[in-house]
Symmetry: C2
Subunit: 424 residues, 2 copies
């Protein structure tokens, strides 16, 4: 018997029949003898519909009221799920973020969890009931007002509750079978990973893999919460995100590479003709940071001695492109650069694997694979367990497939049968 935290996203509870399906799954876990806490998102498109309603009323909704509005979504899904579980003969009670003790800071719309005091959840579980908790929300303790956690908030709620309750596992249910070696829509031969480390999952999430958000993985790593990413449509075992030693009998050899991630959401700004004197690069990134923009990769070209000028390129979220170029243009006189180039037709490929630490030649093999595929590399950055390259956006898919094959990540027919058939 274990204590399991299960999290179901909006697509898993999109309508009454989906909710009944999830209820069946929860009831089965309970009947199997486990204690079960369920974190649930708003149904399907509810959140988008509420945002749309707010926009019809005002272009600039106060964020406190926006959070009150949006949290209506989980209120609906959590009570319906509790009813559906109750209908199967298993007692279930639903709780808001506040009732579940999810305490956050005061940043409405993007609040951070600062404490979890789930005494009502513990009591509910101790009495043999299933506790349903609204994801994505908490309470600002100084005002007792509701807050929302922003993007990926429900996953973070689940991991935070699992940490506080010392749950045996946090199951994140989604519409895919787990974490894959690449996006199966681009690489049909991508394989589901049985296990991935926190560090690898962090790099994958930061490099464009959408299955888990970064902050949820950070939280899980900090508190050592084992995450099981799995499909809400099948009973197959998914992917375990954990640093725990493998169970007896499991294959323990660390593969060199966990997977290939890609990201189309970035743009590149090149600051042309920067005087190559100390402090200019620092000034550029100060200006960008003060506009609230996070940058990703940076490349400074070798200075042309004759002119004493250099070019600096960096990547950033394309959604921040306007803010960054405006800030830089405003400061063109004092920085003294010649011009700005903006390019949002780039793609980023990242190769991630904890094993590459001890395996030389990974970069060489990556560059060779891209070269063989005719893909030009525009920028490069590396970490201990990641190599990222920027390419043209229209060659990104081809690049991902080539690299996936070059590192022997493609599944064979036999493996595919094993994954699809037995669940492991």
């Amino acid at each position: 018997m274990a204590l399991i935290v299960q999290k179901y996203g909006g697509s898993s509870v999109a309508d009454a029949s989906s909710i009944k399906r999830v209820a069946k799954r929860v009831a089965e876990a309970k009947r199997a003898g486990h204690d079960v806490v369920v974190v649930v998102s708003a149904m399907g498109d509810t959140t988008d519909e509420l945002i749309d309603l707010a926009r019809q009323v005002t272009p600039l909704p106060p964020q406190r009221e926006m959070d009150i509005l949006l949290t209506a979504g989980e209120r609906i899904s959590m009570s319906l799920l509790a009813m559906a579980i109750h209908n199967l003969g298993v007692d279930a009670k639903s709780f808001t973020g506040q009732q579940a003790g999810v305490i956050t800071d005061e940043s409405y719309g993007k609040a951070r969890i600062i404490d979890v005091t789930p005494s009502r959840i513990r009591d509910t579980v101790a009495r043999g009931s299933v506790a349903i908790v609204a994801g994505f929300q908490g309470v600002n303790p100084s005002t007792n007002d509701v807050t929302t956690l922003g993007r990926g908030g429900s996953d973070t709620t689940a991991v935070a509750l699992a940490a506080s309750l010392k749950a045996d596992v946090c199951e994140i249910y989604t519409d895919v079978d787990g974490v894959f070696t690449a996006d199966p829509r681009i690489v049909p031969t991508a394989r589901k990973l049985d296990r991935v480390s926190y560090d690898e999952m962090l790099e994958l999430a930061a490099s464009g893999a959408k299955v888990l958000v970064l902050r949820c993985v950070e939280y899980a790593r900090r508190y050592g919460v084992p995450i099981h990413v799995r499909s809400s449509f099948t009973t197959h075992t998914g992917t375990f995100v954990t640093d725990q030693p493998a169970a007896e009998g499991e294959i323990v050899e660390q593969p060199i590479i966990a997977g290939v991630a890609h990201d189309r959401s970035e743009a590149k700004i090149t600051v042309v003709g920067v005087p190559d004197v100390p402090g200019k690069a620092a000034r550029i990134f100060e200006v960008v940071a003060s506009a609230g923009v996070n940058i990703d990769m940076i490349v400074q070209n070798v200075s042309v001695a004759a002119t004493g000028l250099t070019d600096i390129s960096f990547t950033l979220p394309a959604t921040d492109g306007a803010a960054a170029t405006a800030a830089l243009s405003e400061h063109q006189p004092d920085i003294g650069f010649a011009s700005l180039q903006y390019d949002d037709t780039i793609g980023k490929l990242s190769l991630i694997g904890a094993g590459m630490r001890s395996h030389p030649g990974v970069s060489a093999r990556l560059f060779a694979a891209l070269s063989d595929a005719g893909v030009n590399i525009e920028m490069i950055s590396t970490s201990e367990i990641r190599i990222s390259v920027v390419t043209r956006a229209d060659s990104l898919d081809e690049a991902v497939r080539a690299v996936h094959t070059a590192f022997d990540l493609d599944s064979t027919e036999d493996e595919a049968v094993v994954y699809g058939g037995t669940g492991r």
Copy 2:
């Protein structure tokens, strides 16, 4: 400068444009120098849609979860209204029933307010903001779970808040211009009443007038809260429900009759052949009460001496008809009656007026009017300020019109212009 509690129902906030219209009205009251607290219902059909969702999930939803579900509706409308008011440059904050200090008993789905501690509302108003409060909901203090107040709950929330805040007036906004001498859909010449006493309003509400629910009027009378029933579509003065002395210059003569109410929602049960011995009537009404059914009018026929048997008829909500007949049938052996007759094709007409206390001949005039109109009277009951008669359902409209005319309640063309034109 006054403290005004305004209540807007679901039809007044049915969509974004309605919400913006209400916001304009609230902002105008605020800009006129008043302190404003707004109680709001769920948007349009939201509550029905949520009930429908619950039914898709389970035929028997646990009431605690049902209340959590339904209170999502006011959460949406209150935050949208706060946003819309904010958009007009007036600060506004929304509060749940719990945050507004609406404390109830534990009867989920039909909770009664046991206390109101609106310190956050007072603080918000003191800081110059408009406070928006979710109607229809409160908190069960022993569990901190949300409760709903049942039918007419938002009106009751408004009156309870007004009482606790010692508001100068509680404005109930609705889709009609006020309280009328009769339902204008049946009596086109019905007049809007400028003023009606709590007692009269109680009798009107109990007799089928739908503009205010009984419990809200009871609450207002107990705490002396002046209610102003008015249209959310016009700025006309509506109807004041109050026992306060009329302001100087007002016409103070008490009219004999306030209005004619009608009710089509009742049914009649006749218990035929009841042994005319002491205790039999008591037993019948014990059985009906133990089935949870409230009865309205009772008539016991004169006993036929030869048989020692009598008939007892009573009226009850038609929705309780099945429960009452089942309970009586079950106890037929011990009560010893011959048979039951059930009739749901009845109508009830009630003539209400505090002035009838001191005016003899009101009954005679009523019966004459009905007789002249060819309407047969099946049952009669009276209170100090009300006479009710049961008729055939299909002669009810004709009866209402005849009585309205007989008591000189019909408006003249001139009066209609005054009401429609100047607002008073």
